[in-house]
Structure formats: C-alpha cells, structure tokens
Amino acid sequence: MVLIIRYFSALLVFLFAGNLHHPATVGEDWDEYTPVQEVLETLGESAPAHRLPGESAQALMIIKQGEDIVKRGRTIGPNGKLSPYVSKYFICTNCHNIEQEDPDLTSRDPELRLIYVREKNIPFLQGTTFDGIVNRESWYNDDYVKKYGDLVKPAHEDLREAIQLCAVQCSQGRPLESWEMRAVLAYFWSLQFTLGDLQLSDHEMAQLRAGSSNMAHYASLRTLIRSKYLQTSPAHFADAPPDKDKGYGLEGDPEKGKALYELSCLHCHNANGVSEYVLDHSEMSFRNLEKKIPKDSHYSLYQIVRYGTWAQPGHRPYMPHYPLERMSNQQIEDLRAYVEQMSM
C-alpha cells in the first residue's frame, strides 16, 4: 500500500514538475504523503540534476522496470525482450535495502539501526538504503575515495554517475543503458522521502503550510526540512585490530551477535545466496568461523568485515566491507561473541 502511494506520489511529481514554483496556497494541501522534494522546490529550491523530466502515464511502467533491475538485475526492455543482467554476480538488494533502515533519518548509528531492522525483519547491510537516496546530495562519501580513487569524483556529486560506478565496480557488471538508468532513477524517485518520513511535529507542519505562501520564510523552511534527514551517507573506514585474538578489547553481546549473524552474514552466505561460502546455524559453520578469528589472515572475522574481499580475474564476486557507520567495532565483537558461543 505504501509502495502504491509512493508510486502515485512519484507520478504526481512527474506530471506537475515545473508547475510548482509559485503556488499561492499549495502548502495547504501538504500532508504526510507529500514528497519532500516537491515541498523543497515549492520553497524555491532548484531541481537536482538527477531529477527526471515530467513523464507521461508511462511512469508507472518505468518505475516497475527500475524495480525489476534493482531487485532482479534485469527487466523487459523497450524492445519487449528480457534485458541482459546488469551484473552476473550481484543484484542491488544484495548490499542495499529499499526500506527505511534507520529509526532517525538524521543519524547513521549502526547500534540503533540493528534494533530497528530487527523489529522490521530487514537485512543489516554494507550499503546505504535506497530509501530517500534521491533526497541526498552526495554519494560515495568520505573514505570511499580510498577504495575507488578518482572514480569517486564524478559519482560523489551525481547520482547517475554513482549508479554507474556501483553497476560497474561494486557489482562487477556493465554500465546501465540510458533507458535502464531512467527506469532505476524513476524507481528511486518512488522511494523518495515524504513529509511523513520526516516525523515533523504538528507545529512544524503548520509552520510549513503557513510559510508556503510567504517567500520570506522559504529559506528557513528549507533549513527546517533539511534538518530532518541527512543529505549525505557518511562512510568512514576502519582497520581490523592488529592483534586479532585480543580484538577491539570490547566485550561482545552474543544476543546482538545473533541478530547480526542472521540479518547480515546469512543475507548473502545462505544456501541460495550470492556466496559460495555457505553458512548456516550448524556447529560446523560456527567452528569454521571461530577458528579463523584469532588468525592474522584475510579470513578472520575482523579482516573480512573491515576490508572485505576483492574481485580477482577468474573469480569476480567478492564481499564488500563494512564502514564504521554500517557496522561498529562493538558489533563486530558482538558477532564474535555469538560465533564463539555457538561453536562451543
């Protein structure tokens, strides 16, 4: 239901794009389903570069194509035929959620996120969610330049470039064709934030509605809206501890570790997952992980989480690492505690 509402919201944005700049009383109609970008543009903000031009009623079909590409890696193209996979190895949702994953949109706290995703039963992944991705202003932030070097520069400021970088480098696939890019963007626009996502108080909503007819308040209202969500997705890399046996010197909580194991590790390492290293709840899986923890090798839990693995000639699937904002040092210790508990 929420998805349908978002589709229609996106459709409305397409249909009314360009006609939103000087409405006299448009703010009166704003409610929890009103797209944030629509409000910002009404308040005088210019459209972002990744904004799609107004579309015809085809928009729903295009959104569905984009959803197919994101969730299944391919879709029925304009020629009526099934398109080739973007990547032979991954689909977008292997590393990214499509739902809200942080309880507070102004924070990227992995501890709070774990509590939230456990309640919602959604995965705990390396990549940032696509929910509200079009509302961000930069991508591949902070330390991703260490991993991708100059490739990050165009991707940092342009969502289209970020999608292409993800398709080619992260998923070891091919660049999207223009119609595929349009479809993926259309789908992403269907996942944009609405005023309801921002958890505005009644007073703030009233402020918005009232201020929409007074240009003098536009700047402060835009600031108010922007204060309700992060415009970037911070990403800071961390090192594995030098002494794997001692780890980070934090005491782990196996109960949280269990959630991490199930919502993070098993998301890819299940019997039908994207990895040939299959894990389950058997003693053998835990023992195999446990005996590698203290070793100073690529396969230690610390090393794998913090550095991931690499695509190699002949074996291109790999595991992306977790930045600090995606899994904290404490959470790695929680995971270790659970693995050690289960391997005994």
């Binding site: 996979y85 032979k88 190895y89 991954f90 019997a271 040939e276 290293y277 023992r287 195999n288």
Partner: protein, 285 residues
C-alpha cells in the same frame, strides 16, 4: 489375504503416500548438499547441477597399490575420464564423458524427482539413466562385433537422506544392461544395490564411502562387488575427491559388472575426482 484386508492395505498405503506427497510439495526449505558433488566415489550421488551451471569433472584411477614400489604403488598406470555435466534446470542435468579405459564414451540424464525438505519430506530421489559405448578396436578379428554390441545402458534410482548436519546416506537400486557379454554364463542385465554414505568432519572435509552389492548368480567369479572410500575436500568453486577403490572403471558400465579387484587381496586403486563449476547462464549465484 482376503479382499477386505487387501482393500484396507491399499487404502492405508494411499493415505500414507498422499500425506507424504503433500509434505514433499509443501513450502519448506530444501535440504542442501546431501552430498557435495554429483559423484560419491565412482557412482552418482543424488545431487544434480544447478540450473545454468556446467561442471567439468576430471577423474583418474591409478593402478593397484599392491603393485609395490616397482609400479610406484600403482601410480605408473592411470586411466582417466573427462566429463561435463550441465544443469538444464535445477532438477534436470545432462552429462557426457570419455574414459580412456576401453576408449568409452558415455552420456546420461539425471532428474531429481523428490527433494528432501527441512522438517518435511524425509529423503531425495533422483533418477539417472545412462548409456555408454565402447570404441576400443576389437582384438579378436574372427569374431565380428556389431555396433550395437558395444552399447551399455544404466538405470538407477538414487534415494538419499541427510540426517543432521553431518551424516548422509544413499541407497541406489541399479540395473546395468549390456548388449553383449563375454560369456553365456553372464547375464546381460546386471542388478545391483548401491549404498553410499558421507560423514562431514568439518565445514570443508568429509569422508565418503560407497559399496554396490551385486545380486548373486549374475556374473562370473572373476568379478567382485565394487567398493570405495574417500575424502571430499571443498575449496570454494572446486571439489577434490581422493579415494581408494577396487575398481578402475568410472562409469556404471564398468564398475558394477566388471570390477576385478579383490579388496581382500589388496587390489586397491588410488584415484581422484576433481570438479570445477562454471556458470554459463543467469547470475552466478
């Protein structure tokens, strides 16, 4: 048995089968990796290839270890088979291979009929139907052989269950039909029951064993039931299987009716299977 008793038995059997069939198709998670590869030692396991995956299996069987140091315990001699297996669907595989032993080509089709489920249907069933053709030039010029005399057929039902995380067991009733036999004393149809097991020692290493019981009065005294033990080593996309067996043959046509090694005499061959999987269709994993 009276008619009413028969009806009772049939009714009971019908309901048992209905309940089991319903549980087989219930939406439960599949039990995976009953065996790691599609072969146990020489014979097939219940496993099929995943859709779109091509597996190349290179298998070697060396000479007998009781050949002593002069033969380097059998390593001086080797027969080999190169085979390819492809998953048309997850439940349907086809394969072909060529053995250097008697220059034999073989092909087979494997169809998974039932799948063991976690907390549901208790075992998996796969049918394997194969055909082989010996192309070795005949040494006996007096006795002319027809093309059809070189053909062999195999039908096999592979019934396997995985119990817990470590133990798997398989029973495989098998029929090998030979269009031509060396003597009239031997039957064209050879019936056997195979038994195979796998015990996982840890995540990457498992012990495997295999034995085919040849039903009596089918073969001459020269031939023995094939048996083998081995170790499976899993390394990512590769599976290495190292084993000792009393047979040099690597297809049913050889090792079921024509195993000449007597285990009690030490007629044991060292061998290995090496499998590498390539994804040809769809996404990789």
């Amino acid at each position: 048995m009276t008619r009413s008793k028969k009806n009772l038995v049939y009714t009971f059997a019908f309901w048992i089968l209905t309940v089991l069939s319903l549980s087989a198709f219930a939406q439960k998670e599949n039990v995976y990796q009953t065996f790691r590869g599609t072969r146990v030692v020489n014979g097939h396991s219940v496993e099929t290839q995943r859709e779109g995956e091509l597996e190349m299996i290179i298998a070697h069987r060396f000479g007998r270890v009781n050949g002593g140091p002069y033969e380097l315990f059998g390593l001086d001699q080797a027969t080999m088979r190169i085979g390819l297996e492809y998953g048309v669907k997850n439940w349907l595989s086809v394969g072909a291979g060529r053995s250097s032993y008697e220059k034999t080509y073989d092909g087979f089709i494997k169809a998974r009929l039932l799948q063991q489920k976690v907390g549901g249907w208790p075992f998996s069933v796969t049918y394997m139907g194969g055909m082989a053709m010996r192309t070795l030039h005949e040494s006996d010029s007096v006795r002319a052989l027809f093309y059809t005399n070189r053909l062999f057929y195999t039908h096999q039902m592979l019934i396997a269950t995985k119990i817990g995380d470590r133990f798997s067991f398989q029973v495989s009733p098998t029929l090998v039909h030979r269009n031509f036999t060396e003597s009239r004393a031997e039957l064209n149809d050879v019936k056997a029951i195979g038994f195979a097991t796998r015990l996982r020692l840890n995540k990457n290493i498992a012990l495997v064993g295999e034995y085919y019981y040849i039903l009596p009065n089918q073969l001459s005294d020269l031939y023995f039931s094939p048996a083998g033990i081995g170790i499976d080593i899993e390394t990512g996309g590769h599976v290495f299987q190292l084993h000792f067996t009393n047979s040099r043959g690597m297809t049913e046509r050889f090792f079921i009716p024509e195993t000449t090694g007597n285990v009690l005499r030490g007629d044991i061959h060292f061998g290995f299977n090496m499998a590498r999987t390539f994804k040809l269709k769809g996404r990789w994993y």
